[in-house]
Amino acid sequence: MARTRLFAAEQVLVREPGRAERNPVGAARRRAVMEISLAAGVPLVLLGLWQAASGLGWIDSRLYPSPTDIVATGADMLADGTLWGDIWHTTARVLAGFAIGTAAGILFGLAMGSVRLIQVALEPTLDALYVVPKLALLPIFLTMFGLGEGPKIALVAVTVFFFVWISTMSAIIGVEEGYREAGRCFGANRWQMFRHVLVPAALPQMFVAMRVAAGVAFLVIIAAEFIVGENGLGYLIFQSRALFINDQMFVGIVVVAIEGVVFAELVRLIGRRVTRWAPSDHDRARA
């Protein structure tokens, strides 16, 4: 840490360089070690506490199986193939719904953010639909699409759509006037302005929305699989709960958590590659 000394007589402020400034490489290494330790340590401590509580009988291991039991059950379910089917069904529904919802959300967001008349025409309707709990639409989708994959994919798509649409539209509208002015100075026409100024400026926020939507997509599909169907991780979780097979229920919960994190991270990584000009989360946090 830098130290400052104030010499009252001369009114001169002297600032000595701190350790981090004298040895920036070492400081960065120490910081990295601390961050990794915290990132790995906190979940490990929680898991350790859980394992201890379950294994030592502080909590009923039949209701709250220990992490090692959950891992063992998960391994068994993977080995006998029962878990793969549920993972596949849920993942396929999320990917399909996410792709459709994202494409539609970007399309509507770009159109409404760019053309005032389209925004005026569609925004009240979409705002009204936005506040409808998406799960309440499931019976309507069941009637529309029957009992196959359609209703669940549609539910995910609609949920993702609203996140992406609102963020895209607001990002386009919120592009700073300075960017637009710079584009005009370079003589950009309407398409060039859209292609080279508005979209690049809005993309980082669009990817943030997609990351949020990726997590919410899992929330929605789990609930939908609970209500309708005979497979998927949501079905596994709630059916195991109903059957009082709690270790399988926890396996489902853990797999959903892992899948959700992996999917959101994947979207973030793609976002970082596509929007190299935008600061990363870590950069933002340190700024």
Binding site: R30, V33, M34, S37, L38, A40, G41, V42, L44, V45, L46, L47, G48, L49, Q51, A52, A53, S54, G55, L56, G57, D60, S61, R62, L63, P65, S66, P67, T68, D69, P139, L142, T143, G146, L147, I227, V228, G229, E230, Y235, F238, Q239, R241, A242, L243, F244, I245
Partner: protein, 384 residues
């Protein structure tokens, strides 16, 4: 100073790993606090006036068996020396099968036993967890796969009373769409989709599996599709599914519909649901459990002994008690309330649930580990 701080940070994973190792070796994760549950012993059974016909042989599986009945207003109340509270949960309190319990609450039958009964609506899976942990005392529902798995895990829960058997006129059961212009049969369901509100862990799997096997099919020959109650009938009518298990009173909507037929229902004279007691009532609150059972049995003998829907005034009262419209109650015939549990029902339920893959074990648990008839035997004074 800095080195100490870094050391503390690095200590986190080390600490957790050591805790993890300690816990792995420190306890047997397969056993829980209540894994060796033993119910409290039943007291001496004494003959009860008015209940001379209050018991039937559990081995009697004849479809036309008359359910056990005592005289009205018997067995007489035996108030507990101290007022005791029992928390009862049910997934669907607004249902006819729970009528005797709600009638007993409304008409003070539990009060006569010095019992305070609080009925709460809780989803079945949550209700079973609460019951098994001792957070509630009684669950009104059914011995489903969750119940059997809980018993197998060592939880102190038992099936202590039946609820009802379906009247012969009832068409609760499997309905199917016509095939090739003719009414379908069970054998036609091979490769078809069957919808149900209740999943593969429900007791209705027993009649479904039995009907399939009686017709040369296996459970794997049909695809079971879980659907919300409101959508089952619609899905069957519009052809989204080929067959469905239709509950009371929804089947009455299908009777006049062309192209649909009723294939099979619940086994006659054999209740598949009822009352589950948890560790509290099976243990320290046993006397309260006996009082609860006595009040329910007395209510059945007094208010629901036979065709209780023959009296419109009674149906009006019932409508208020169970919060269902009278015309909805009148759409289906009177249920045959039956507090007894037939011999072998628990075995047959478990065998069917093993077939559907809903149980975490492969051999049925012995009946005496899942069924406890002693509460209603004490209530009616069954001494033979």
């Amino acid at each position: 100073m800095r080195a100490r701080r870094r050391g503390r940070v690095l200590l986190l994973p080390l600490l957790s790993v050591s805790m993890l190792l300690a816990a792995c070796g420190g306890g047997d994760s397969d056993s829980g606090p209540d894994s060796s549950f033993t119910p409290a012993s039943a007291g001496p059974v004494q003959a009860v006036a008015g209940c001379e016909n209050g018991w039937t042989d559990p081995a009697d599986l004849s479809p036309d068996r008359k359910p056990a009945r005592c005289e009205p207003n018997t067995p007489a109340p035996v108030p507990l020396p101290e007022r005791t509270k029992l928390v009862v949960t049910a997934a669907t309190p607004k249902a006819e099968f729970i009528a005797p319990i709600r009638w007993a609450i409304a008409h003070g039958e539990f009060e006569k036993e010095n019992l305070e009964v609080e009925l709460r609506q809780v989803p079945a899976a949550d209700g079973l967890n609460l019951l098994a942990q001792g957070d509630t005392d009684i669950l009104v529902g059914s011995p489903d796969a969750g119940f059997f798995n809980a018993v197998n895990s060592g939880f102190g829960v038992r099936w202590v009373m039946g609820n009802f058997s379906a009247p012969p006129e009832s068409k609760t059961g499997v309905w199917a769409r016509d095939i090739d212009g003719r009414p379908a049969t069970i054998a036609d369901l091979k490769g078809k989709t069957m919808a149900s509100v209740l999943g593969k862990g429900s007791p209705i799997m027993y009649p479904i599996v039995q009907a399939l096997e009686d017709n040369g099919l296996t459970f794997g020959d049909v695809t079971l599709q879980s659907l919300p109650a409101a959508d089952v009938v619609t899905a069957l009518i519009n052809g989204a599914v080929d067959a469905a298990w239709i509950l009371d009173p929804l089947w009455t909507e299908l009777e006049d519909k062309p192209g649909l037929s009723f294939l099979s229902g619940q086994p006659p004279g054999e209740p598949l649901g009822g009352v589950l007691f948890g560790p509290n009532v099976l243990g320290e609150k046993r006397a309260a459990g006996e009082a609860f059972t006595r009040a329910v049995v007395r209510t059945i003998n007094t208010a629901f002994p036979g065709d209780y829907k023959a009296d419109p005034a009674f149906v009006e009262d019932l409508s208020k008690v169970i919060e269902l419209p009278a015309d909805q109650i009148n759409r289906v015939p009177s249920l045959i309330f039956d507090w007894e549990i037939r011999g072998g029902t628990a075995d047959r339920l478990q065998e069917a649930l093993i077939t559907t893959g809903a149980l975490s074990y492969s051999e049925p648990l012995p009946e005496n580990e899942v069924v406890d008839r002693s509460f209603y035997e004490v209530a009616v004074g069954h001494t033979s």
